[in-house]
């Protein structure tokens, strides 16, 4: 077995001059990249850079306006997902394209050109084994945890004889341990000669997994780099085209409590007690399913409280985890989305004053560096980061004393993240109390004063941010470690 360093594997996929526009907006302008067999190739870029669109074009679910795609050096035409399947290209979408009410087996065989005339168990089992998914083929997908669904989607791609597998933000909804499992599988696949195209902007993942990375900016390819000989700073520079100063947060002094939670118990939470002070950012860590989002739902009054008390000295706002599902009205405009909670303020006897409405949004949009063609643009024309900013603006306009932010930077680009950190700092400086849920521990450590770690609905540990480390938090989240000191 030759080592990867000495023998260059052949180029299996080459895309060149790919352009795609929606209305007057270009998603891609002559983008290009090449993938070799046996490599993990990262597609990077800020949200809106066009990396997902590029992946979808290669997978046949979006048609390019122009450009060429070659497989094994031969030009091919990919007009539909079936074409892609025939050419050995599989894709795992960020929002997994599984049928939740069908079984695992049915999801593998449905639309599968290779499954015709075979028994379901016999056909599916090898692929389930290959991805390490131990589940009945008869099990409905809706009963599988998200991490296992991801594996199922990969098994589905493998069963379609894919040699080139595209993964679009595969870890965006995975817990850390599920992500680790996925990384192991990706390495296995790579060793077996598969070509993996890994669409992400999570720097740490890419450094751990990828052999090469192609960076897109504004729909065009900036360049392709060999991972071992590059740095995070260089990649960020390529992605944003400017240097980002990661500002350190200013220390805050303790003040009076604004929210007191005592013995809070719901179906998902058990005996949760804490205090939040004016001007404080309280980080909430925990694996997916630990009760992080449910804490927000309980505080906001969406879940029934079994016992315990919530004493809030100000209105509580909630920015939900899934902005498309729980947050935004995609058909409505930027302005309409942002003022939804404060219509009373811009209306007289129920009649809206559109000028006042626009005047309310203007300063907040400026603070957030909201970038949109017009405040009347429908939301589905905005990038993910800007959509998130619109959702935040809805709550900034409402000026709640307590704001529960549930993973506010999930799936958004580096620049937008910095804008959101800055906003959190400013809100806290203005005296609000912030509850910040995040899956990214560096983010929690950067933004919070204190950090609560949830595990199975209970508070497993509490830390001052300055004393906490990623390792301590991970340990508490995974094992409920109370031993370590520095608790508060």
């Amino acid at each position: 077995m030759p080592t990867g360093e000495t023998v260059r594997m052949a180029t299996v996929l080459a895309a060149a001059g790919i352009s795609k526009h929606y209305g007057g907006v270009y998603a891609l302008k002559g983008a290009h990249f090449e993938v070799r067999a046996g490599e993990v190739h990262a597609l990077m870029g800020e949200n809106g850079a066009g990396k997902s669109t590029l992946a979808r074009i290669v997978a046949g679910s979006t048609r390019a306006d122009s450009g060429t795609i070659a497989i094994d050096g031969r030009a091919v035409r990919i007009a539909s997902p079936v074409d892609a399947q025939r050419l050995g290209i599989g894709i795992i979408y960020q929002e997994l394209d599984l049928f939740p009410s069908l079984t695992a087996g049915e999801n593998i065989v449905i639309g599968n050109l290779h499954a015709a005339g075979q028994r379901m168990e016999a056909f599916c089992r090898p692929y389930l084994d290959q991805v390490g998914l131990e589940c009945e083929v008869r099990r409905p997908v809706s009963s599988l945890p998200i991490g296992q669904r991801q594996l199922l989607a990969i098994a589905r791609a493998l069963s379609m004889s894919a040699r080139i597998i595209l993964m679009d933000e595969p870890t965006s909804s995975l817990s850390e341990d599920a992500a680790e499992r996925l990384f192991g599988l990706i390495r296995d696949l790579k060793r077996s000669g598969f070509a993996i195209v890994y669409v992400s902007h999570k720097m740490d993942e890419i450094f751990r997994l990828a052999d090469r990375a192609t960076v897109l900016r504004d729909g065009a390819t900036v360049g392709t780099v060999e991972m071992p000989s590059t740095s995070a700073e260089e990649l960020i520079h390529m992605m944003v085209g400017r240097q980002l100063a990661v500002t350190a947060r200013r220390e805050r002094t303790a003040a009076d409590p604004i929210l007191m939670v005592r013995g809070l118990t719901t179906t998902m939470l058990k005996d949760v007690s804490f205090e939040l002070r004016h001007g404080e950012v309280l980080g909430i860590a925990g694996l997916v399913g630990s009760g992080r989002s449910e804490l927000g739902a309980a505080l906001y009054g969406l879940d029934r409280i079994v016992s315990g008390s919530i004493e809030a000295r100000a209105a509580i706002g909630l920015v939900p985890e899934d902005r498309r599902l729980q947050g935004l009205m995609m058909q409505m405009s930027v302005l309409e989305n942002s003022t939804l909670r404060v219509l009373g303020r811009v209306a007289r006897f129920g009649w809206l004053d559109r000028r006042r409405e626009a005047a309310e949004l203007a300063p907040v949009a400026r603070d957030l560096a909201l970038n949109c063609p017009s405040v009347d643009a429908p939301l589905n024309r905005l990038s993910g980061g800007n959509q998130q900013k619109v959702l935040l603006s809805r709550w900034l306009l409402a000026r709640p004393g307590v704001l529960f932010l549930d993973d506010p930077t999930r799936g958004i680009d580096v620049g937008a993240k910095q804008d959101i950190y800055r906003m959190i700092d400013e809100l806290a400086a203005g005296g609000a109390g912030i509850l910040l849920v995040s899956s990214e521990l560096p983010e929690l450590l950067r933004c919070s004063d204190r950090i609560l770690v949830l595990r199975d609905g209970r508070i497993a540990a509490r830390y001052y941010a300055r004393d906490a480390t990623q390792e301590k938090i991970m340990a508490a989240a995974a094992f409920g470690d109370f031993i370590d000191g520095a608790r508060c």
Partner: protein, 319 residues
């Protein structure tokens, strides 16, 4: 962005313009050589003929914008015709206004029940209003013993009511006023904004703390109220309270809304679109009848128009 919205609206307007031009082109001519389609009498006939469905489709637009549907409008119309005719022809009241109020209020109550059940149980609006479509029809038949209540042509109160409210100007005027009010409410009020937000993304509306239940109860109640108002006009036009009136009106109203570009899944649509959709159906029907096209063929042509109108608007969305 505003230009795009205008363009989209213009597409259903283009369809309307096309049909009007066609109607003028193929219109039979009167004895003096003028085109019958363009006669003032004929044009106002069209407006009067679309007014009932037009009124119902205004509130139906609201219902569909919230992601719902109201199948009970035809039955509520029948109930309203029956009540207004009973109150007047049987002398339960000496005031026309009281009879109208009774009919419209009862219709609004039926709508509010629809909305209340939908909001409280979270059952699908299709199922709830399907049930009330059957139940309210039964109620209308029951209170009338399934008999028409004829309004005569004498000098009594009922006859006076019919003579007044079957005036073209009153019927068309009612539609115009209702259309203006509903257009303003949707475009310019907090309630209108809530209607669209709930239909666009109900979960998000819940997370944003919007009054989802209240909004739903209101839209179905408005649907009941307007169906009731249409029922009053129906009773005057047809000189009868008729518990079997309005069958399949819900489908005509939904068709007008859909042709007008409102998404059946909610969140997107406009009153102006619905008005254009109603006009398209009205002009098309008149054009075909003036040319003595068989009414079965008329239905087939309408089917094609519905699909074409919606297809054209989807096309517009993509580009």
């Amino acid at each position: 962005m505003r230009a795009i919205a205008l363009l989209r609206r213009a597409q259903s307007l283009t369809a309307l313009a096309g049909i009007v031009i066609l109607a003028i082109a193929i219109s039979p001519t009167a004895g003096d050589g003028s085109r019958i389609f363009l006669q003032a009498g004929n044009l106002t006939d069209i407006l009067r003929q679309i007014s009932l469905i037009g009124i119902i489709s205004l509130a139906m637009t609201f219902v569909i914008l919230t992601g719902g549907i109201d199948l009970s409008v035809g039955s509520i119309l029948a109930l309203s015709t029956s009540l207004v005719a009973m109150w007047l022809a049987r002398g339960y009241t000496q005031h026309i206004a009281v009879a109208i109020l009774v009919a419209v209020a009862a219709s609004g109550a039926m709508g509010a029940i629809n909305g209340g059940v939908i909001a409280a149980t979270r059952m699908q609006p299709f199922v709830v209003t399907l049930a009330s479509m059957i139940g309210v029809r039964g109620l209308a038949k029951w209170i009338t013993s399934n008999q028409n209540i004829d309004i005569g042509f004498g000098r009594d109160l009922a006859a006076e009511f019919a003579a007044t409210f079957r005036e073209k100007a009153i019927v068309i005027g009612s539609y115009a006023v209702a259309a203006a009010i509903f257009w303003l409410v949707l475009a310019r009020t907090v309630f209108g904004r809530h209607v669209r937000a709930v239909g666009d993304n109900e979960r998000a509306a819940e997370y944003a703390g919007l009054p989802i239940r209240r909004t739903k109860i209101w839209v179905y109640m408005l649907s009941g109220l307007l169906s009731g108002a249409a029922g009053v006009l129906y009773a005057a036009e047809n000189h009868q309270g008729n518990p079997n009136a309005g069958v399949a009106y819900e489908l005509d109203a939904i068709a007008a809304v859909v042709i007008g570009g409102t998404r059946l899944s909610g969140g997107k649509g406009s009153i102006s679109g619905t008005i254009v959709g109603t006009l398209i159906m009205g002009v098309l029907t008149n054009m075909l009848r003036l040319n003595n096209v068989d009414s079965n063929v008329e239905m087939m042509i309408k089917a094609v128009i519905i699909v074409l109108a919606v297809a054209v608007q989807r096309e517009g969305k993509e580009s």
